[in-house]
């Protein structure tokens, strides 16, 4: 990080995903950084190429072709310099090829240090394959069996506050030692284990693990129960990801030489950009990336960043799992027509075994988007359960608590305060109509009050994330101008009431629509067109029993922002309930789809 990036004019960044490698070229125009071009090529980690740089060169080659700027020299990314024509000032890369960083974490109590360890690993961009804990209900040999079977890239061992339990941590260390784990890639080197637990147990842990694994000791991730200290562990995970995991993957040693900054795990980089955005604008934000195999959710609430990855929720490889987890009825509730259940099951399976196909018919698209809604919802549920406050904190009671005693460890995700919801990933970014992406986000996340929706146009958040580490300003500028596709604000009153009763009264001057003063009934959705960049002050008056942030039934004046979709008024109530009666359900859905102009055809 000692490098000076103030004079950078050209930035080249790549993201080596598990199927495609994407390259973007950013250039400074006047005072602003803007995205110039992008290119992509299949990732070449696996046979027959087995060299990630071939995919990178192909992708950069496409960028070179489109931009006309020389970026490659023979088989290498060209850095600019004296006497060199073209080239890039900075080259950065992220990677999730080869399944990304797969970790196992261990903590003493699953919901305490286990959860902290999980957060540390997830925040660093890892997929957490398993959480070992003293109280996970498995017996010693079952834990050993799990370690052996899963073969993680590295293990993060934590547990005990400083000065706390030694025996539990040592027991876990002994179990890891007894499992004698071997890393996933390559042989001939020991599995990296990071110890970030009770400092008093370091000696004993060393005794148990030093001979059998490559042990690294960092500061405790939970020095006291009241505080988490994830930084050192995350930093070490990044280091080891570079040194061990990446170094073993084919071609990465070459790629590491080309880049100016360490290669980051893709989700870690996405986390960086979300954090940068949230802190730059001082907002609460959620980002989601729905992929083929996994769905990542990132959130920043009250300055606390959290990331979760739902390893088995996705739109292609994992599509069957979405169906298995939520159940077919939950998916079909979003579909405005009836389909034979067996046919749907076979169809979903065929998508799983042939993941690259795309929906050709409208019905097919609707079913696929229904699955996406459920995948988003489930991933968000998982996120909420992990993005929680610390558990196990002593409460200071006063007589005020005689009436209500609150528990610790509640979720940090407060939809009422959410300002921005950004979606990315094929299902959202490549939806034929933007309004479809908007509605999928709304249905999957159920935003409350006023939330601004956006999608990542071409999934360049990873590259911007790694860029934000060194040039946060440039990263925010590009994110703002070129990355985000603004969909518009969503207004959703919280509460429930009688079917067909009034829910919201809105009064505002919309450009193009003039002054509007409308009542929206419960169970209705409406769209008020408002172009990108336009802002409108609106007076929102929720009906009795409904809350828009000012208290139940209290009116509020807010700024609504436009987008390619417009302002969506979602008066379906929160908690959202879909009508149980089949005809009512189909009518309701048809109404929403029509009002928001989601699909070209009405069912």
């Amino acid at each position: 990080m000692a490098q000076d990036y103030s004079h950078v004019k050209t930035i080249l960044a790549t993201d080596c995903g598990s199927t495609t490698t994407k390259a973007i070229l950013i250039e400074k125009e006047g005072e602003e950084y803007r995205l110039k071009v992008r290119g992509e090529a299949p990732t070449t980690v696996e046979k027959p190429a087995e060299d990630v740089t071939r995919g990178v060169l192909n992708a950069v080659g496409e960028v070179e072709e489109l931009s006309g700027r020389t970026l490659l020299k023979k088989v290498k990314v060209l850095h600019s310099g004296k006497g060199i024509k073209g080239g890039t000032d900075v080259y950065l890369s992220t990677s999730s090829a080869g399944g990304g960083l797969q970790m196992m974490v261990a903590g003493v109590v699953k919901s305490m240090t286990g959860e902290s360890a999980q957060r540390a690993a997830l925040g660093a961009g890892a997929i957490v394959m398993d959480v070992l804990a003293s109280n996970d209900g498995r017996l010693g040999h079952e834990k050993i069996e799990a370690i052996r079977r899963l073969r993680p890239d590295m293990i993060l061992l934590s547990g005990g506050i400083d000065g706390g339990t030694i025996s539990h941590v040592v027991e876990l260390a002994e179990l890891i030692g007894a499992a004698d784990p071997k890393p996933r890639f390559g042989s001939g080197y020991d599995l990296p284990v990071i110890y970030a637990g009770n400092k008093d147990a370091r000696g004993n842990v060393k005794g148990s693990l030093e001979a059998k694994t490559d042990l690294y000791v960092v500061d405790n991730i939970r020095p006291v129960l009241e505080r988490e200290n994830l930084g050192p562990a995350r930093h070490e995970i990044h280091n080891l990801f570079m040194e061990h995991v990446m170094a073993q993957a084919p071609g990465y040693s070459k790629l590491m030489e080309w880049t100016d900054e360490p290669i980051m795990p893709t989700p870690g980089a996405v986390g960086e950009i979300i954090q940068t955005i949230a802190s730059t604008y001082g907002i609460e934000a959620i980002g989601v990336d729905i992929g083929g195999a996994t769905t990542d959710v990132f959130s920043v609430f009250g300055g606390v960043f959290n990331r979760t990855v739902s390893a088995n929720l996705g739109m292609s490889y994992s599509v069957s799992n979405v169906v298995a987890e939520t159940g077919l009825p939950n998916i079909m509730r979003w579909v405005p027509f009836s389909v034979d259940e067996r046919a749907i099951r076979d169809r979903v399976r065929n998508k799983m075994i042939r993941p690259t196909t795309i929906p050709q018919t409208l019905e097919d698209l609707i079913v696929e988007q229904a699955i996406a809604r459920e995948a988003l919802r489930l991933a968000f549920e998982q996120h909420k359960s992990l993005a929680v406050g610390l558990k196990g904190i002593q409460q200071q009671r006063t007589i005020s608590d005689a009436f209500a005693q609150t528990a610790t460890g509640g979720t940090l995700v407060n939809m009422m305060n959410l300002d921005m919801l950004v979606g990315s990933g094929g299902a959202l970014s490549h939806a034929p109509r933007r309004a479809q992406a908007g509605l999928m986000l709304i249905d999957g996340f159920m935003p409350e009050c006023v939330t601004f929706l956006a999608v990542d146009s071409i999934f360049m958040m990873p590259q911007l994330g790694v860029l934000s580490k060194v040039m946060p300003k440039a990263a925010t500028q590009v994110f703002d101008r070129d990355c985000l596709v603004r969909l518009g604000s969503c207004v959703a009153p919280v509460g429930s009431g009688k079917e067909g009763s009034n829910c919201l009264h809105i009064e505002a001057d919309f450009p193009g629509l003039g002054h509007i003063s409308e009542d929206v009934k419960l169970g209705e959705m409406r769209l008020l067109p408002l172009p990108v960049g336009e802002k409108v002050r609106a007076k929102l008056d929720p009906a009795r029993g409904f809350d828009l942030g000012a208290g139940k039934g209290d009116a509020r004046e807010v700024t609504l922002e436009g987008g390619v979709v417009g302002v969506v008024l979602d008066c379906r109530g929160r908690p959202f309930q879909i009508p149980e009666d089949e005809t009512k359900r189909v009518n309701a859905i048809t109404g929403w789809l029509q009002n928001l102009d989601i699909y070209p055809k009405v069912f």
């Binding site: 004698d180 046919a343 099951r345 399976r349 075994i353």
Partner: protein, 375 residues
């Protein structure tokens, strides 16, 4: 998006097939380079470290953990029998003693004075690796395993369940379009790998298991049956470890779909030969598809080897539609327009024109076809 189509599955009449037979842990290789091996021959073996059991000696003796080593009867490394005393403490001047006994036969791995636990490791489990296919050892990988090479028919399925098995091929349906029902499976099928047509019913599959059929190869299978057959809803497509008594390979997809004519004819031609099949499927990074290998020495043109890059999409290439609404239909590419086209779903994608075998001409996304590689 030059590669936006599924690089089809291999259906090769004759090719050179190489299978790596690698142990999970370095061990002993039992064959030499150049040896001829039968499918069931053991080519390598090793011992996997045994499972471990923990015994909390501190608590069973009522001791502080740091005192545990003092009362150990067995020390680290000692062999113990199941039920043998491993630690003992005399109380009340030897009148009465508390004991800790070993829950398993094995050896004492560690004695911890921090946790008060001892770990007993069971004896190592022997693991053997067979040759899987009849062939020749062409390479020995140190102590880890060998590569076996054979010449024969190689067919990839789209999805399978169950692991490696061998047996004689028996085609039990008369056409590739017929459903494999339970009455098609007779006593004679026992120990064989049976080939059916378009679909196998759950009843047929159950009967196959009952009669001791080794493997079933068909065009399609219903997801509903898969769920009842496995007993759970398969989430992620990683299979191969099921222990159901039969290995199932489906070649086309889920639902009732005719097995590709070429595949069916090829299998029919190999009827009576020994085949090695594996249902293991992994549809993720590092794709694994189920496979059917029939070693044979019949004359014929040698197709490109398995695992090598296949051909490209051209006009005249035989393809199969792999998504609704034309799922399973076979045809020939008639045009490859360069510009993107808008589908009914409003997606803008690259398409191709295809003339299906039934004469219908359609325009479908390139992503929704796969090339049929036959040779």
């Amino acid at each position: 998006m030059a590669h936006a189509y599924t690089p089809g599955l291999k259906v090769l009449g004759k090719t050179i097939i190489r299978k790596e037979r690698i142990l999970p842990l370095a061990g002993e290789v039992l064959v030499k380079k150049g040896d001829t091996v039968k499918a069931e021959d053991i080519v390598a073996r090793t011992f996997l470290p045994g499972n471990v059991e923990t015994v909390n000696v501190a608590n069973s003796l009522g001791l502080p953990p740091e005192e545990v080593p003092k009362f150990m009867v067995k020390q680290e490394g000692d062999a113990v029998e199941e039920g043998e005393v491993i630690a003992e403490m005399k109380q009340f001047f030897g009148l009465y003693s508390s004991r800790a006994i070993s829950p398993v036969k094995g050896s004492i791995e560690t004695v911890s004075s921090i946790t008060g636990q001892i770990i007993v490791r069971e004896p190592p489990n022997p693991v053997v690796m067979d040759a899987y296919v009849d062939g020749k050892v062409v390479e020995v990988h140190g102590k880890e395993g060998v590569t076996v090479e054979t010449t024969g028919t190689f067919i990839q399925g789209i999805f399978g369940i169950g692991g490696e098995t061998q047996g004689e091929i028996a085609v039990v349906t008369d056409s590739s379009e017929r459903v494999l029902a339970d009455e098609d499976i007779t006593e004679e099928c026992a120990g064989k790998i049976i080939v059916g047509g378009s679909l196998v019913t759950a009843a047929a599959l159950k009967k196959a298991i009952q009669l001791g059929v080794k493997g079933v190869i068909v065009g399609g299978f219903h997801d509903w049956d898969l769920k009842s057959f496995l007993g759970f809803d398969l989430g992620v497509a990683i299979t191969g470890h099921e222990n159901l008594g039969v290995t199932l390979v489906i070649t086309e997809g889920f639902g009732d779909m005719a097995m590709a004519e070429a595949t069916f004819n090829l299998l029919k031609a190999r009827e009576g030969l020994q085949a090695s099949i594996n249902g293991a499927t992994q549809i993720r990074a590092g794709v694994i598809r189920p496979e059917i290998i029939v070693p044979h020495t019949e004359k014929g043109k040698l197709a490109a080897g398995a695992g090598e890059e296949g051909s490209n999409l051209e006009i005249g290439t035989r393809v199969r539609a792999i998504r609704e609404p034309f799922f399973g239909k076979l045809g020939e590419v008639t045009s490859l327009p360069v510009e993107l086209q808008i589908l009914e779903s409003e997606a803008k994608v690259r398409v191709l024109g295809v003339k299906f075998d039934d004469g219908a001409e359609e325009v479908i996304p390139r992503a929704n076809v796969e090339i049929i590689e036959a040779g």
